[in-house]
């Protein structure tokens, strides 16, 4: 739990961490860390993003500020994508398609999430490409950077391997009814996927801070980041709209069982996904705003 709390500090703005990070780590080492402590840290990080003390601005130079913003948007996108995948799995079955055809608001919200996810994904790739190419070039000469750059590739390969295992496990099951073992496999796969995604984000961030990168590439990455953040805001709003519309227009679907173990309802799943999306979109918007100020 203490280690998780230390990782939660990564949600704070770079300047805040540079000023208070060591002190907060020292405090966490002497404090009993509970779930409420984690919630307090998350809430504190959100406040720090939106009410950052002016005096902290001088602790981070413009280039580092832009690096932090670009990697921050990537982290938010990954968290958002996990919630978005949950949204896709929750609403993929035929009754939801039928409901989307019968109720225009549901249909519009669902299509909006899909369209904006394409916009966001393209913007992430467009922003990352001018940073990936120089990273690969510099990694040839710098062993430390080579390790950082190769970590995301290794994490992605591990995830692909785990996905293969999940598919094999799914095919080996008899019948189409969801089983407990299948649900547990899916949860394990999801947690492993989150772990791999965290490795990708942290390694990408470490690479970005360790390499030389032109101001133009960072400005371009931030411009794409703004588009990503806007797409995230749009998708979060569409998800909230979808959740409300489903509860009003198709309440029987909202109350139906959901989740890998069928232990929750569709409405509850959508609520959690919506909250995660709103938080990730808010953090992405905050970090791009600071990056834009640094870019001038």
């Amino acid at each position: 739990m203490r280690r998780l709390a230390r990782y939660t500090l990564l949600l704070y703005p770079l300047a805040f961490r540079r000023r208070y990070g060591d002190e907060m780590c020292a405090l966490l080492e002497r404090t009993r860390v509970r779930p409420m402590t984690l919630l307090d840290l998350v809430r504190g990080a959100l406040v720090a993003h939106y009410r950052a003390p002016a005096a902290l601005a001088g602790l981070v130079d413009g280039a580092d500020r832009m690096r932090a913003s670009a990697s921050g948007v990537l982290a938010c996108w990954v968290v958002f994508a996990a919630a978005g995948f949950g949204f896709y799995k929750t609403t993929e079955d035929a009754p939801f398609t039928t409901a989307a055809h019968a109720h225009p608001l549901l249909g519009v919200a669902h299509v909006s999430v899909q369209a904006l996810s394409v916009v966001g994904s393209v913007a992430v790739l467009a922003g990352a490409l001018p940073l990936i190419l120089p990273a690969l070039k510099q990694a040839r000469r710098d062993p430390g950077l080579r390790l950082r750059v190769s970590l995301p590739v290794i994490a992605a390969l591990v995830f692909v391997g785990l996905t293969g295992l999940l598919v094999v496990a799914a095919h080996s099951e008899h019948g189409h009814r969801p089983s407990t073992a299948g649900g547990l496999w899916f949860i394990a796969w999801g947690l492993a996927g989150l772990g791999c995604a965290a490795v990708c984000v942290l390694a990408a961030r470490a690479s970005l801070f360790a390499m030389a990168v032109s101001r133009g590439s960072l400005v371009w990455a931030l411009a794409c980041g703004r588009l990503v953040a806007a797409a995230m805001v749009g998708m979060a709003l569409a998800t909230v709209l979808y959740t409300v519309a489903l509860n009003v227009d198709a309440s029987h679907l909202a109350g139906s069982p959901n989740g890998p173990l069928q232990a929750t309802s569709v409405g509850a799943s959508l609520l959690v996904q919506g909250v995660v999306m709103v938080l990730a979109a808010a953090l992405a918007t905050g970090t791009t705003r600071r990056g834009r100020r640094a870019a001038g």
């Binding site: 709390a5 805040f16 000023r19 208070y20 060591d22 002190e23 907060m24 780590c25 020292a26 405090l27 966490l28 002497r30 404090t31 409420m36 402590t37 919630l39 307090d40 840290l41 998350v42 809430r43 504190g44 990080a45 406040v47 720090a48 009410r51 003390p53 002016a54 005096a55 902290l56």
Partner: protein
């Protein structure tokens, strides 16, 4: 937190313990450092050189004045409240 620092410089953990003793409320690390950053930004407290990874904070002159003003206001409110309760109990 200003009251806690009124008796001398303290670092984050010591402030947490003191605030808990004074008010019964345990400050989380996010709340504590969010408040410290805002108080520092307003010039009400200042950081002293770090001792290992712990950095003590102390009240500034402006912080002392702000604390005194707040406490005097609280004292007036408390005194008025108690007087009114006494009058109400005496009359009825």
């Amino acid at each position: 937190m200003l009251t806690s620092l009124a008796e001398g410089p303290k670092h984050g953990y010591a402030i947490t313990l003191d605030v808990e003793r004074l008010s019964g409320m345990r400050l989380g690390p996010g709340t504590l450092y969010g408040a410290l950053s805002r108080l520092e930004d307003k010039g009400l407290i200042e950081a002293l050189p770090a001792d290992a990874r712990r950095r003590p904070y102390r009240l500034t002159a402006a912080g002392s004045a702000a604390l005194r003003e707040q406490l005097q206001t609280l004292e007036r409110v408390a005194r008025s409240g108690l007087d009114r309760l006494r009058v109400a109990e005496a009359t009825g």
